[in-house]
C-alpha cells in the first residue's frame, strides 16, 4: 500500500506500484487538471510538484511518491490566485490552454526557487514545457510579471 498526500489530502494506492503518477491523478483520482502530452518527460504538460519540486508525473512511478506531498494545479492555490495564475490571466497567456497547467506549475516552482529570475533563466527553466500554440512570449512576460508582483 502506497500512501501519499495530494493537495493536502491523504491518498492510498494498492494497485501497480509502477503506475505513473499522471494516470493515478487523472484516472484514479479525477484530478484532470494535470495533462498528458508525451508520456516521456519531453513536453512538461504533466508537471506537478512533489515535495515542492516540479516533476513530470508521466514518468514518476507511484512507488517513487510514497510518503510524499504531491501538489497539482488544483491545489496550487485555493482560489486560483497564485501570483503565476494571476499574471497568466493579466497577460492573457493561453490560447488552447491545454499545456498551461503544466506551464504554470513549472513557473511556480521556478519562482519558488528563484524569485527574481533573469530572462535567460526563465527561458532555460521553461524549455522543457512545450506550447504548440506558441504562447512563449507571453509565458516569459507573465513570469517576469509574477516575479515583480502582480
Amino acid at each position: 500500500m502506497i500512501k501519499l498526500t495530494v493537495n493536502g489530502e491523504n491518498h492510498q494506492w494498492d494497485g501497480d506500484p509502477s503506475l505513473p503518477l499522471l494516470w493515478y491523478l487523472r484516472d484514479e483520482s479525477g484530478l484532470t487538471g494535470t495533462k498528458y502530452g508525451c508520456g516521456q518527460a519531453l513536453c512538461g504538460a504533466c508537471t506537478v510538484h512533489v515535495g515542492g519540486q516540479a516533476v513530470r508525473s508521466c514518468i514518476t512511478a507511484m512507488e517513487d511518491v510514497a510518503d510524499q506531498k504531491v501538489v497539482t494545479i488544483e491545489g496550487l492555490h485555493p482560489s486560483g490566485e497564485h501570483p503565476v495564475q494571476k499574471a497568466w490571466r493579466e497577460l492573457q497567456v493561453p490560447q488552447c490552454g491545454y499545456c498551461q497547467t503544466g506551464q504554470i506549475m513549472q513557473a511556480a516552482a521556478l519562482l519558488s526557487d528563484n524569485p527574481k529570475p533573469t530572462d535567460h533563466q526563465i527561458r532555460e527553466q521553461m524549455a522543457g514545457n512545450i506550447c504548440r500554440c506558441g504562447c512563449y512570449n507571453r509565458i516569459e512576460a507573465a513570469i517576469r510579471l509574477a516575479s515583480t508582483g502582480v
Binding site: R26, C43, Q95, G134
Partner: protein, 765 residues
C-alpha cells in the same frame, strides 16, 4: 433546455461535467423565447459571404443562440469549436455588442454537434468570423429590438423613444430604466423582427467588437478546471488504448494478448474494427487494450504481440518519393493556369532564374493528442470529444453505428489544439465502436506516438519556379510547377492531382503583374493519409513563391522588398476569374473578397516600415520579408535572424502585419500571429515526418521536435491594419505561410546561404 434537442442516449452519471453549464431552459417562465426563428437569411447587410454554401448553411435564430434569465443573465451559444483561436469568446462578443449586454453578465455555453439546428459548425478554413460576424450581430440586434419594444409598451411610449444601454432599456425623456431580466418575459411574447428591419450598430457604437475582452475560459484554464477531450469521466468508464496498423492500408493478421492480460489493471483485449484505405475518417482498426486506467492500458499495449499485413503502401519511402516528386516538376505537366506564353517568354528571356523547393510531410502534434469518450447503447450514442467538426462527427458516428443522426449526441469539449487534425473524427468513431462492443462507457486515449504514427499528414511537396527576366530587369515569365499528394486522396481512393482548393492556395492565384504566367500540376499519388494542416497548401506554395522573389532580387542586385512590390505591381483588383477557370476563392464571392493587390502591397509596405526595413544589423544578422494572401486575408512578415558560427539560428525579432478586414478581438489576433511565428519556426527548423517501409520514422517530441521557449523570437510585433468596414477574413491560419520564406530570406541575407529544402536541419552547419 436551451439545447432543446431530444437527448436520446441514456446518459450514465457524469462525474465531473460542470453543472453550471447546464442551463435552466429557455422555455422556463421569464426567459426570452423568440416566437419564430428568423430562418435562413441573407447573412449581411452590405456584403455576401460563402456561409450559405457551406453544408447546412447559416441558421439565424435568436431563440437558439441567446436567452435571458429573470436575473438578467444572458446566455449565448457558441456553436464553433474552441481550439485556441478565441472563437468561443469572439462570436458571442459580437452578439452581446448588438444586444448592448454587460459582458460581466454574459455566459457562454457550447452547442452540441447538430448542424440542422445550428447551421454549419466546421471550425476550420479560418472562416468562423467571416461567416458569423453579421449573423451573430443580427441575432443580438433582434433580441435588443424586442427588449426595446417591450419596454416601450410597458411605458406606453414610442419604441423610437427608448434605447438599450448596458443591460437596460432607458427612456431618456422620463429618466425611466428597466433591466433586461425584468423585460425578458414580455419581450418573448413579441413577434420576431424581420432581418431587413433591424438596425445594426454603426462602427462608432461598438463596445466589444474591435476592442476585445479576455477569453471566457481564462480562469478555468489557469486553474485546471477547463475540460478537454480526456477530462470527462463517466461512471464505470473503461480506459482504452489501441495499437493500429503501422502502414496505412495494412490489416491485422493475428494477435497474442497473454502478456498484455497479465499486466495489473488490464481487463480485456479486443479487436478494433478498421476500414480499408481510403475511407474518409474511418478508423484504421487494430487491437484495443481495455484497462482500469490509461497507464495500465498503455503498459498492456506494450506487452501485446501483433502480426500485420502491411498492404500496398509498405514500400512508401520518403527519400524515393522526394526524388519522384522532384523529377515530376522538371517535366511539363497538366496546365492549371495559362496566361500569355510563358514557355516562349522563358526562351526569349535575357536571364532565367530557377528555384526548386521541397517541403516534407508534417504532423499536427497538438498538445492534446486525440481522445474521445463514448457511451453507446443499442439505440443511441453520446460522445464527448474535442472535434473541429461537431456536425460531421455526428454524421460519421451515426453512419458507422447504423443509427439515425438524431440518436447521436456530440458534446464538444475544449480542444487542446486542433490545427486541422481534429477535423477528422476517427478517434471519436473508435470510442463509439468500443463502447458498443463492451456495452460500457469507454474513453479512448491516443498516446503521442499514436498521434505521430497515425496522423492525417500535411502533404509533401516539390515546387519548381522558373522566372524569365528581360534585359531591362523586368520579370516577363513565370512558370511554376507544384507536385504534392492531395488531401482528396483521403476521400477518393486514387486521387492524385491537387484539388481546386489546394491549387488556389497561393499557386494559381499568384497575384503578380507578370504578362506570361503558367502553372502546372504533375500527378502525385498518396501513400498515406493526407489531411489539412493549419494553412494547408499555402505553406509550400508561399515558401516557393516568396523565396523565388528574393532569389530574383538577389540575381538582379535589387532590394528584396522593392522587388516584391514591383512584382505585385500597382494597386488593382486582380482579375483572377479571367485567369483561372473555376477559381476557388476560399469559398467566398470574389466581389466581396477580391484579390486586391493594393491591400497586399499595403501590408508589405506597412510591415517594412514598422520593422524598419533596411536598418543596420550586427554581423551574421539578416532581415527577410514575405507577403501572402490566404483565407482571404493579407499578411506580411519581416523576420530578423541571427545565425551563429555553427549554423545555429535565433530570431531576435518578428514583425507581422495583418489585414483581416473588420475584426472582433484584436488581442486574439495578436496571439494567433505570435503563435503562427512559433509554428512557422518549428516547420523551418525541424518539422519533418519521413516514411520508411511505409512506416513513420518519428515517434515523439525527441525525434519530431517543435519550437521551445528558448528558441522563440525575443520580440514578436503584430500590426493590425484598420478594418475600414471591410468584410472580415481569416486569422487562425494565414499567419503561418509567410513566416518560413521570410525567415529563409533572412538567413540568406545573413549568410548568403539559400535554404530551398525544409526543414533546415543541419544545412547551415
Amino acid at each position: 433546455m436551451l439545447h432543446a434537442f431530444p437527448h436520446a442516449a441514456s446518459s450514465p452519471a457524469i462525474e465531473n461535467v460542470s453543472r453550471r453549464h447546464i442551463l435552466k431552459g429557455a422555455a422556463a417562465a421569464g426567459s426570452l423565447v423568440l416566437a419564430a426563428p428568423l430562418a435562413h437569411a441573407a447573412t449581411a447587410p452590405t456584403y455576401k459571404t460563402g456561409a450559405g454554401d457551406m453544408p447546412h448553411g447559416v441558421v439565424i435564430d435568436p431563440n437558439l443562440f441567446v436567452s435571458i434569465a429573470p436575473d438578467g443573465t444572458v446566455t449565448i451559444v457558441a456553436h464553433r469549436s474552441e481550439m485556441g483561436t478565441g472563437v468561443r469568446t469572439s462570436l458571442p462578443m459580437a452578439l452581446a455588442d448588438e444586444l448592448d449586454a454587460d459582458w460581466a453578465r454574459v455566459k457562454v455555453v457550447q452547442a452540441e454537434g447538430n448542424e440542422p439546428k445550428y447551421g454549419n459548425q466546421d471550425t476550420d478554413g479560418s472562416r468562423s468570423t467571416r461567416h458569423y460576424l453579421v449573423p451573430m450581430r443580427q441575432m443580438g440586434a433582434a433580441a435588443r429590438t424586442m427588449l426595446e419594444q417591450a419596454a416601450a409598451q410597458s411605458w406606453n411610449v414610442k419604441p423610437e423613444e427608448v434605447k438599450a444601454s448596458n443591460h437596460e432599456i432607458v427612456h431618456a425623456a422620463s429618466g425611466r430604466r428597466i433591466g433586461y431580466g425584468a423585460l425578458a418575459a414580455a419581450a418573448a411574447k413579441l413577434p420576431v423582427p424581420k432581418i431587413e428591419t433591424l438596425r445594426l450598430k454603426d462602427e462608432s457604437e461598438f463596445r466589444y467588437i474591435g476592442k476585445g475582452v479576455p477569453i471566457v475560459d481564462l480562469h478555468d484554464i489557469t486553474t485546471g478546471k477547463a475540460r478537454y477531450g480526456a477530462d470527462v469521466r463517466l461512471t464505470d468508464m473503461k480506459y482504452a488504448v489501441l495499437v493500429r496498423p503501422p502502414v496505412v492500408g495494412g490489416k491485422l493478421v493475428s494477435f497474442d494478448s497473454k502478456d498484455a492480460l497479465a499486466v495489473p489493471g488490464v481487463e480485456q483485449v479486443v479487436e478494433a474494427q478498421g476500414w480499408p484505405w481510403a475511407s474518409k475518417f474511418q478508423p484504421l482498426g487494430g487491437v484495443a487494450v481495455i484497462a482500469r486506467n490509461t497507464g495500465a492500458a498503455i503498459k498492456g499495449r506494450d506487452a501485446l504481440k501483433v502480426v500485420w499485413d502491411d498492404g500496398a503502401n509498405a514500400k512508401y519511402d520518403s527519400d524515393a518519393y522526394r526524388a519522384e516528386l522532384e523529377d515530376s516538376v522538371r517535366k511539363p505537366a497538366p496546365v492549371v493556369r495559362d496566361e500569355g506564353d510563358a514557355d516562349a517568354a522563358l526562351k526569349a528571356a535575357d536571364k532565367v532564374i530557377t528555384g526548386e523547393y521541397y517541403l516534407p510531410h508534417l504532423a499536427h502534434v497538438s498538445m492534446e493528442p486525440p481522445a474521445a469518450t463514448a457511451n453507446v447503447t443499442d439505440t443511441a450514442a453520446e460522445i464527448w470529444a474535442p472535434v473541429q467538426s461537431p456536425g460531421g462527427t455526428r454524421d460519421d458516428v451515426a453512419k458507422t453505428l447504423g443509427l439515425p443522426p438524431e440518436a447521436v449526441k456530440i458534446n464538444v469539449t475544449l480542444l487542446g489544439g486542433g490545427f486541422g487534425r481534429k477535423s477528422k473524427c476517427d478517434y471519436a468513431i473508435e470510442a463509439a465502436l468500443l463502447s458498443r462492443k463492451l456495452k460500457a462507457p469507454v474513453r479512448v486515449q491516443w498516446t503521442r506516438e499514436d498521434d505521430i504514427h497515425h496522423d492525417f499528414y500535411h502533404t509533401v511537396s516539390a515546387e519548381r519556379i522558373e522566372a524569365g527576366i528581360e534585359k531591362s530587369g523586368k520579370v516577363t515569365a513565370w512558370r511554376h510547377r507544384s507536385a504534392a499528394p492531395t488531401f482528396m486522396s483521403t476521400f477518393e481512393p486514387g486521387a492524385k492531382t491537387e484539388s481546386k482548393l489546394e491549387l488556389a492556395m497561393g499557386f494559381v492565384d499568384v497575384p503578380f503583374a507578370i504578362p506570361n504566367i503558367r502553372c502546372e500540376n504533375p500527378d502525385a499519388a498518396a501513400h498515406t493519409r493526407i489531411g489539412w494542416f493549419r494553412a494547408v497548401s499555402n505553406i509550400p506554395h508561399a515558401f516557393a513563391v516568396q523565396s523565388m522573389v528574393a532569389e530574383i532580387a538577389h540575381a538582379l542586385g535589387r532590394d528584396p522588398k522593392d522587388m516584391l512590390l514591383e512584382m505585385i505591381g500597382p494597386p488593382r483588383i486582380v482579375d483572377i476569374a479571367k485567369s483561372v477557370k473555376d477559381y476557388w476563392n476560399n469559398g467566398e464571392p470574389l466581389d466581396a473578397y477580391p484579390i486586391d493587390a493594393g491591400r497586399l502591397r499595403r501590408v508589405a509596405e506597412h510591415v517594412a516600415d514598422k520593422a524598419e526595413w533596411g536598418r543596420k544589423l550586427p554581423a551574421r544578422h539578416g532581415l527577410g520579408i514575405a507577403v501572402h494572401r490566404s483565407f482571404v486575408s493579407y499578411i506580411a512578415t519581416v523576420v530578423e535572424v541571427a545565425v551563429d558560427e555553427k549554423g545555429g539560428i535565433s530570431v531576435p525579432r518578428v514583425d507581422t502585419a495583418i489585414d483581416c478586414g473588420t475584426y472582433i478581438n484584436p488581442e486574439r489576433i495578436r496571439s494567433q500571429m505570435e503563435g503562427a511565428a512559433i509554428m512557422g519556426l518549428s516547420l523551418v527548423k525541424s518539422g519533418e515526418i519521413t516514411f520508411k517501409n511505409g512506416r513513420v520514422q518519428q515517434s515523439n517530441f525527441d525525434d519530431y521536435p517543435v519550437a521551445r521557449i528558448d528558441e522563440s523570437p525575443s520580440v514578436t510585433n503584430v500590426h493590425i491594419m484598420p478594418g475600414e468596414n471591410r468584410p472580415p477574413s481569416g486569422v487562425g491560419e494565414p499567419g503561418v505561410p509567410p513566416f518560413a520564406p521570410a525567415l529563409c530570406n533572412a538567413i540568406f541575407a545573413a549568410t548568403g546561404k539559400r535554404i530551398r529544402r525544409l526543414p533546415i536541419g543541419n544545412q547551415l552547419a
